[in-house]
Amino acid sequence: MKLKRRSFLGTATLATASLSAPALMGQTRPRVVVIGGGSGGGTVARYIAKDSNGAVDVTLIEPSRRYYTCYFSNLYLGGFWEYDALGHDYGNIARTGVNVVHDWAVGVDRDAQTVALASGERVPYDRLVVAPGIDFVEGSVPGWDVSQQSLMPHAYKSGTQVQLLKHQIETMREGGLFVMVAPPNPYRCPPGPGERVCMVAHMLAQSNPSAKILVVDPKETYSKQALFEEGWERHYPGMVTRIGPDFGGENVEVRPEEMEVIIDGMVEKADVVNVIPAQKAGKIAELAGLTNDTGWAPVRPGDMRSTMDENIFVLGDASHQGAMPKSGFSANSQAKVVANVIRGELTGSRIFPARYSNTCWSLIATDDGVKVGATYEPGAEQIESVTSFISQTGEDADLRRQTYEESIGWYNGIVADIFG
């Protein structure tokens, strides 16, 4: 492997050890390359390295040195979580024996089985995992593109966007208007926009109680709708208005320079605008030829293997798999199935039948947590839901508080599982 030393993270000894080991053994270990060190990619790299005890050479390609989770970023907006506590570095993943390369993957040569990096290097693989998360569909909200993200932030990918959004809301004029342009299906974290509205409302109720929130939504219905609407009514009465498709919510355009939102032809002057555009698989999936006309990468339900290439797996938000929501929990769950399959194929270890699960917690107000979840299994064509549950409206305060505390336990659990 022709990697430059400086592109490695971790101590010198670590880098040396992982580079020289195959040479010392006089044979090449099977090579796994993972593109994207988020919820899906971080998990799969770590599990393969941990469970194969060095029998597999695992390289993780991720441009950022610190991964900021999108999960709990809404809680940061609401003042329930610190920004720094959203960030996790790759030190422990490297310590399980993963070569962590901080660079962008810019192309995949599927015939040669190599990944091209922005630095110009090529990394060969026997199995490739593609987990780049999402990118935005250009033109999905007329008037908006990523170059406008400092005027109208999306705050829907990890990192500093959410700090910007928080700052804009904090400095909004008294009695101002916050507009959220919600995305069409499918998008990451189905309850994410609803939870964000709760957290923005929570923040405004304290600092700017005469401010208003307008949600412009192209969808008829959305995840946890009854729970969120009950919460808005109970905790933030009169603050939140939602315009669905029947009143023009699917016909929206923005003018970032003027801070205007045009809903079905009507111009609305806004103070802060959060545009969450339509989404598709992270660009590298498309460049690798793994996506179809949905914009997502179709996979086989039993093992998340690309339907386009036997040696490539796509997981997390970028995959088109069926019934699982695009969530960090789902990505983590899928990664474990993929890790088991890849390790089995490369080392002969046992391969077990896939099982998947997901639970998404959301915070509505102080100590008012709700959840939705399901278990899944592979069907003939796609992943299907087996059992599901959701919090009920009208639950008592103790249960809601316990659900919130549980969500903190989950957060600590999943980040320990990936980065701890």
């Binding site: 599990y47 469970d51 929990f329 983590n332 769950s333 474990k336 890790a339 088991n340 046992r350 077990f352 099982r355 699960s357 639970t359 959840k371 979840g373 399901a374 278990t375 299994e377 087996v386 059992t387 599901s388 549950f389 505390e405 549980e406 969500s407 903190i408 336990g409 989950w410 600590n412 659990g413 999943i414 320990a416 599982d417 701890g420």
Partner: protein, 239 residues
């Protein structure tokens, strides 16, 4: 949550082979408890025929008795107050008090350091239980055994878990339950005695335990898979 579970386990090991008591587990081994009583308690507390108050009150009929309720014994103010507040000596309270007296009644005069081994406490309590009212004489008396949460056959309890499979299955658990055993908001599950684990998972599977995430996870685990998980998490605790 944790304590009764531990208790449940150590007494589960002594499960009588008779089928009819499959649902009830003796509190502990009363014979072993007699020896523990002699060593730990007898210098201050008498029990049995003709027992009198000494440094501490006698412990006949301690089960179901209100704390500080012998008129002819001088208790600490703390214990009397707890008695007025409704503290009664049932299995759980006795267990907690013996484990760490000051944790339950902070101003107690009982200068006993506590007995940390749950199995020895269970044996001790089983011994003491024999000197209180028995349900066969007084139906309202406290039970002399604990019910198992779920009725599991000996075959299910004796399934040898496939640890490697358990490791794969465990990855579903570790999205929330930390591998390190750390717990905050979500209970730790590492290093549990296997039987506790199996009983708990079957209780979720049968929806006797009320948590929806756990119910849905448990619902699709079969007996072998539950045993595999129990074996894996026990092993993980030994690492």
């Amino acid at each position: 949550m944790k304590q009764p579970l531990k208790l449940l386990f150590c007494i589960g090991a002594l499960l009588a082979p008779v089928q009819t008591v499959a649902q009830a587990i003796p509190i502990g081994d009363a014979t072993a408890g007699a020896e523990i009583y002699r060593r730990e308690c007898a210098s201050c507390h008498q029990i049995g025929d003709g027992a009198q108050h000494r440094i501490g009150p006698h412990l006949n009929r301690i089960f179901d008795r209100g704390a500080g309720s012998h008129d002819d014994f001088r208790y600490s103010e703390a214990l009397l107050r707890q008695g007025r507040d409704g503290l009664r000596w049932d299995l759980r309270r006795l267990d907690a008090y013996i484990e760490n007296p000051r944790a339950l009644v902070s101003g107690t005069r009982m200068s006993y350091r506590g007995l940390s081994d749950p199995e020895r406490r269970a044996d001790l309590i089983a011994y003491m239980r024999a000197y209180s009212d028995q349900p066969q004489n007084i139906p309202e008396a406290a039970p002399t055994a604990r019910g198992r949460e779920v009725n599991l056959s000996a075959e299910i309890l004796s399934i040898e878990g496939d640890i490697e499979y358990g490791e794969f299955l465990s990855s579903e658990c570790t999205t929330c339950h930390q591998r390190s055993g750390d717990h905050a908001g979500i209970p730790g599950i590492v290093g549990w005695p296997e039987e506790d684990f199996v009983v708990a998972m079957h209780a979720y599977k049968q929806k006797l335990r009320p948590h929806e995430v756990m119910q849905s996870v448990a619902q699709r685990l079969d007996e072998e898979e539950i045993a595999a998980l129990a074996a894996y998490f026990r092993e993980l605790g030994r690492e």
